[in-house]
């Protein structure tokens, strides 16, 4: 399955110009600053906005020169920034709204390839999944309530469930956490991570928050001024030093690994990834559990010799791959290869010069902080 998106359209004061082949699995983040066109792109894919171009999902054409499938005939789920629940309906009524209509609608052509083993949430009627989705989002106790009796986080969880219950073949999420405060955000993120693990359908996730993207995305499309400026697997794109979007303090990489050791004594877990292992605070995951860690560039320093008398737990042999300028002229970004995995370190040009760093140099990466992000 693949999603082919090509839009070229001039709006007043803004032009959208994208040509993308998005993966048919996992979470793809559409990432960029506000005004970069990411929400417009998402709305065009949903058919809520008209742009000249071509859009096909899995070979089914949703839009080209002769075709425009209206939004209500596209097998999508859409989660808006604010929950947009219908205020005149209870939570149950809101969930039923899309579910009943999706079941009544003529079934959409079956997914080609059938990737995803025995489970196929993509085109099965939603009815069977009702309990599962309710449990997944933890809204079982809210069904009789009206939306104005819900908290912001609960509303958004209901909105996500409502979208999933239409058995969409593509889930579109437009900054679903942006309207929430930090506490609500942290309340919803675990649910989104569970979705990520359990859903078989592709998700397009619009966000301008690097931490959300780091936690949830598998792929990333970086947007700027209505254009795509970088795209690819998240792990690769984040380790690029020429990323046109400056992330500032959020510059850093993510690594996918598994729990290989748990130290009950010190409440630590050792995460193995291709190229080494790092110690993190134990997140309670079982041995062998797949996890993702995030390492910010500001938390990585470089030493020529291994440091044994240091408070830093994670000190790994590495090879300098690339050195580039950071936003401030005093700072440099250094890409280090730990086996096949890359981390980025931020240091001053003075330090880089003092250590004689050059591509190919053998060094030690001292990682001061590793965040376990699910």
């Amino acid at each position: 399955m693949s999603i082919a998106v090509r839009f070229r359209h001039a709006y007043p004061g803004f032009a959208l110009d994208v040509d993308l082949d998005l993966p048919g699995r996992g979470v793809t983040a559409l990432f960029g600053h506000s005004g970069s066109g990411k929400t417009t792109l998402l709305r065009c894919i949903a058919g809520l906005e008209r742009a000249t171009g071509r859009l096909s999902i899995d070979g089914a054409v949703w839009q080209d020169d002769d075709t425009f499938v209206p939004t209500h005939r596209r097998p999508i789920g859409y989660v808006f920034q604010e929950a947009s629940l219908f205020p005149h309906l209870s939570v149950q009524g809101n969930l039923d709204f899309g579910m009943k209509r999706a079941q009544r609608a003529p079934s959409f052509p079956a997914r080609e390839g059938g990737a995803g083993g025995g489970r196929d949430n993509g085109c099965r009627p939603a009815g069977a999944d009702f309990q599962h989705i309710i449990e997944l989002l933890g809204i079982g106790t809210l069904l009789d309530r009206k939306p104005d009796r819900l908290s912001g986080g609960e509303r958004q969880r209901v909105a996500i469930a409502r979208a999933l219950l239409t058995a969409p073949r593509l889930l579109l999420m437009d900054e679903p956490l942006a309207a929430l405060d930090l506490a609500r955000k942290n309340e919803i993120l675990p649910y989104l991570e569970r979705l990520h693990d359990e859903l078989e359908i592709p998700v397009l996730y619009v966000s301008h928050a690097p931490d959300e993207v780091a936690r949830l995305a598998d792929h990333i499309v970086v947007m700027e001024g209505g254009r795509e400026v970088a795209q690819g697997p998240l792990i690769d794109v984040l380790s690029r030093l020429d990323l046109p979007i400056r992330l500032g303090e959020d510059t850093g990489v993510v690594l996918d690994g598994t729990v290989v050791e748990r130290d009950e004594n010190w409440q630590l877990a050792r995460i193995g990834f291709s190229g080494g292992t790092v110690w993190v605070r134990d997140g309670g995951h079982a041995l062998g559990h797949p996890v993702r860690v995030r390492i910010l560039a500001r938390d990585v320093s470089i030493a020529r010799e291994p440091q044994h008398d240091s408070s830093i737990l994670n000190c790994l042999p590495a090879e300098v791959a690339e050195i580039a300028d950071d936003a401030h002229p005093a700072l440099a970004l250094v890409k280090l290869m730990l086996g096949k995995s890359a981390v980025v370190a931020r240091l001053t040009h003075r330090s880089a010069c003092g250590l004689g760093l050059k591509p190919g140099a053998q060094v030690y990466a001292q990682i001061k902080a590793v965040a376990l992000i699910g």
Binding site: Y78, F86, A102
Partner: protein, 223 residues
């Protein structure tokens, strides 16, 4: 109470009821179009629909009389259909009332539709609801207070009609003689007692209408 007074009350209720139903049927699509469109005709159409609000009833009645009379285009049309002429008939009163009370139905509906905004419609579309489906399952329930206000105002305004009726319907008992006409006749004949009964009844009716509207207003403001 005179039999003619009862007939006038019944005629008035019949006229107001029929007018309100017709206005909801006609006014809803007009208000929906006005709320949604970006067409250049939005301004002119909106003004025409609101015109009866500011126009003296006598002026409106005069033009309707001319239009629907034997030499007017509408009159010629109804005659060619074999329907005869509308002035001085109950049907003529209904047509005139629909035009006269139009803004009182369209305005509350327009405001209610505009207050709904784009988002619920978009949400409904992403949940597989067609535009018609969305209108009946989302717009109508959300605009319910607007529909109530529109119905009450349209009905009450038609009940209070005088000038237009005078111009177009005359004063035929049992056929076009409405309540306000009956009051006028009683006062002309110096029969103050029946005039009091009818006028007092109207006063109570109007008060109740405003009371009912007042209890629904808070619902309008609720998100």
């Amino acid at each position: 109470m005179h039999a003619s007074d009862l007939a006038a009350i019944w005629l008035t209720l019949k006229l107001a009821g029929l007018t309100t139903v017709l206005l909801l049927l006609i006014g809803t699509p007009i208000a929906w179009w006005l709320a949604r469109t970006r067409h250049w005709a939005k301004g002119p159409v909106g003004a025409v629909v609101t015109l009866p609000l500011v126009l003296p009833p006598a002026v409106l009645g005069f033009y309707l009389l001319v239009l629907m009379g034997p030499d007017g285009p509408v009159g010629q049309f109804t005659q060619s259909l074999g329907l005869g002429l509308l002035p001085f008939s109950f049907a003529g009163l209904v047509v005139a009332s629909v035009i006269y009370s139009m803004p009182f139905v369209v305005q509350p509906l327009l405001q209610a539709f505009e207050a709904i905004g784009e988002r619920p419609l978009e949400a409904a579309a992403t949940l597989r609801a067609s535009p018609w489906d969305t209108f009946f399952s989302v717009v109508v329930p959300l605009a319910r207070p607007g529909f109530i206000t529109a119905s009450v105002l349209g009905f009450a305004h038609t009940v209070g009609e005088f000038g237009v009726v005078l111009m177009i319907g005359g004063n035929i008992p049992g056929k076009t003689q409405v309540l306000s006409m009956a009051i006028y006749n009683h006062v002309e004949a110096l029969e103050y007692a029946p005039a009091h009964w009818l006028a007092g009844g109207m006063l109570v009716f109007s008060f109740v209408v405003l009371l009912v509207l007042g209890t629904f207003k808070p619902a309008l403001r609720k998100p």
